[in-house]
Amino acid sequence: MASKDDISNRQDKNMTATQSFYHNSAPPGLTGIKSWLLTHDHKRLGLMYLGVICFWFVLAMFLGLMLRTELMTQGRTIMDAETYNATFTLHGVIMIFLFMIPGIPAIFGNFFLPIQLGTDDVFFPRLNLFSWYLFMFGGLFAIISLFVGDGFPDTGWTFYVPFSINNNANVGLTVTAAFILGMSSMLTGLNFVTTFHRMRDKNMGLMQIPLFSWSLYATAWVQILATPVISITFVLIILERFFHIGLFDPDKGGDPLLYQHLFWMYSHPAVYVMIIPGMGVISEIIPIFSRKSIFGYKAIVWSSMAIAIAGSLVWAHHMFTSGMSDVSVFVFSLLTYLVAIPSAVKVFSWISTMYKGSIEMTPPLLLSLIFIFLFSIGGLTGLVIGSAGTDIHVHDTQFIVAHFHFVMFGGTGFAFFAALHFWWPKMFGIMYRFKPAYIGASLTGVGFIFHYIPMFILGLQGMPRRYYDYLPQYETGNFLAGFGGYLLVIGMVTMFVNLLMSFKQQVTAPADPWGGTTLEWTVPSPPPVHNFIKEPEVESYPYDFTKVAERFKQSGK
């Protein structure tokens, strides 16, 4: 394992000292708080997203912990049933709309996409700022919706009709919040696609683009393709609440199933908005710490695009038990199986990259390895519920809860932590301590397993999801899961505290602490306001480690 001191010594002596983007504002002349709130700088916006999104994540994490604490014993433990319903709704809405979807693209995408493409900013910098404000307003609306109206919204994050329409709580406002957040995410996607095509360094061909940027591009397309569908669905909920048109009301000729179709037409692709950037992060980390070119670069690029396309055509696998026709069930089940192929291609590529590599253990790599393990379990259990026969058995049980947490949290969540540890020295110019990071990451991984594996078993035994109370035979499993939950939270808190402590220790990080090959490692940490001091030199292949290996050999590492 590399120690922190080793890595701090890898100073690039040729790097001239320049002022970072913290010292210069864009547009120039802004000072103090204004230089942040009115900034057009993609790096500052990325950090502003980081601050807000971490706030939401921590909040929703504690809500989740409350939920599992409540379930640790039968009957009432710490809250009543109504509070429980509101809490899981809030946990879901915040985690999905305010953490998972914007998480990696809005923070690390904003910060690193332009740098990886060799340019100074995104194509529409002002639109980028506007997206951030939309995001803030969306969050604000979500908070307000809690306290106006008759009680907290308790529909679950899916807002299924008729409950979302007849409900006394202020669901309309919650839905408006989600609508605004959707718009923010769509505009970010639009910005990224345009940046990708128009701002890329002239010497960078399509097959010379770093994989994280490719994954953002695929994600951005899904955001543009799918988000308007959820927007119109939310508009319809609001209209139904105000005017009672009856488009989803069987008494008035409507069909509630159509709501579910419209909802999942967006929300299933949204799952890929959450996971594809995470896969991009892992595709950056694995080759660097294996000192070996990524295995199957083109296969990873195409699998990202394939997931984006195939993933848009599988939405109705959420509805196998809803009473739709057997033909649809068959078609959607088949398509769901097809999505597994490109995902498996990626896992295969990561493993093959490490094979016979010169592996150097660091916190980002450890987190990436945990990602691969947990994501594979999540993906494979996805096949259990993607096939219509077995889904009938486990539909709407704790099995589903465990499955999507393995993919969303074990996948995207750990990719987020990995990205945070990977790019932290670049974003802030300081290095954190490795030991607490390893301890935090391991605790989080172990806690995760303890937390969610019992839910798989509970689900197979028949315990439904979203229930406040349960039969005595489920108590052991639920108690164990709650115990794992505490371990998980302790692990995450350790990681975050360790990262925050690095501000106090102020150990300066070099421009390239890891031995990276993509453009962000050629600029100072933290980067100057226009990212590049001299014209970026684009390598003919983004994952060629020959130079890095030579540099290490010379410095005797």
């Binding site: 799918a226 569908v229 319809l236 008035k252 000729g253 409507g254 037409m265």
Partner: protein
């Protein structure tokens, strides 16, 4: 930031946005398709109650305004400021005429107790209720887009008068024009779906 303005890039961004608007309406058209399949005869019945003459006039008004917007963009490229202003004012006027027609149309329907959750629709045939529910939702959303389009054109008009939009810098007008064409295009689909349905 490069000092040169990348017009192609701005246009790509605008087209992506327009595309998302089409998907927005696409969700409603999916609902329309599903319900048309379920209630074909009631959709035909509902369609007959709509005033085809007003619908046709509105279609023509929008088509003409689309032409004048396109003409205004050509005019600004030729540096004919006065022409541009005339064309733009006329286009905004067309949008206004469209909305007035819509107002009378909706007014008449509401007067006949046909509006969401009205007594006639709730106690009547479910298929007819769905038809008018979709009619109000889709034309309402389209009307909102007409208003947004008019606002965009008005902003462009002000900028043209101020000289900030001119023959070398007309992306704002260009994109507002694109938006207006989108509004027109969506109406071209909405018109037959409601007024001319069998």
């Amino acid at each position: 930031m490069s000092s040169q303005i990348d017009r192609t890039g701005i246009k790509i961004g605008m087209w992506l946005f327009l595309y998302s608007e089409i998907i927005l309406f696409g969700g409603l058209f999916v609902l329309y398709a599903a319900y048309l399949y379920r209630y074909p005869e009631f959709f035909a019945e509902g369609g007959k109650e709509l005033n085809r003459v007003i619908g046709a006039i509105n279609t023509i008004v929008l088509l003409i305004s689309s032409f004048t917007v396109a003409a205004s963009i050509t005019a600004i490229q030729r540096n004919a400021k006065k022409q541009t202003i005339v064309f733009l004012v006329f286009s905004i006027f067309c949008g206004f005429v469209f909305l007035v027609n819509k107002y009378f149309e909706w007014g008449a329907k509401i007067h006949h107790d046909i509006y969401p959750n009205s007594e006639t629709l709730v106690s009547g045939e479910p298929g007819v209720n769905i038809f008018f529910g979709l009619y109000y939702t889709i034309t309402g959303l389209h009307g909102l887009h007409v208003i947004i389009g008019m606002i965009l054109l008005s902003i462009s008009l002000v900028l043209v008068i101020k000289g900030k939009v001119n023959s070398s810098q007309f992306s704002m007008l260009d994109n507002s024009g694109l938006y207006w064409h989108l509004v027109d295009l969506i109406w071209i689909f909405v018109f037959p779906l409601f007024y001319l349905v069998l």
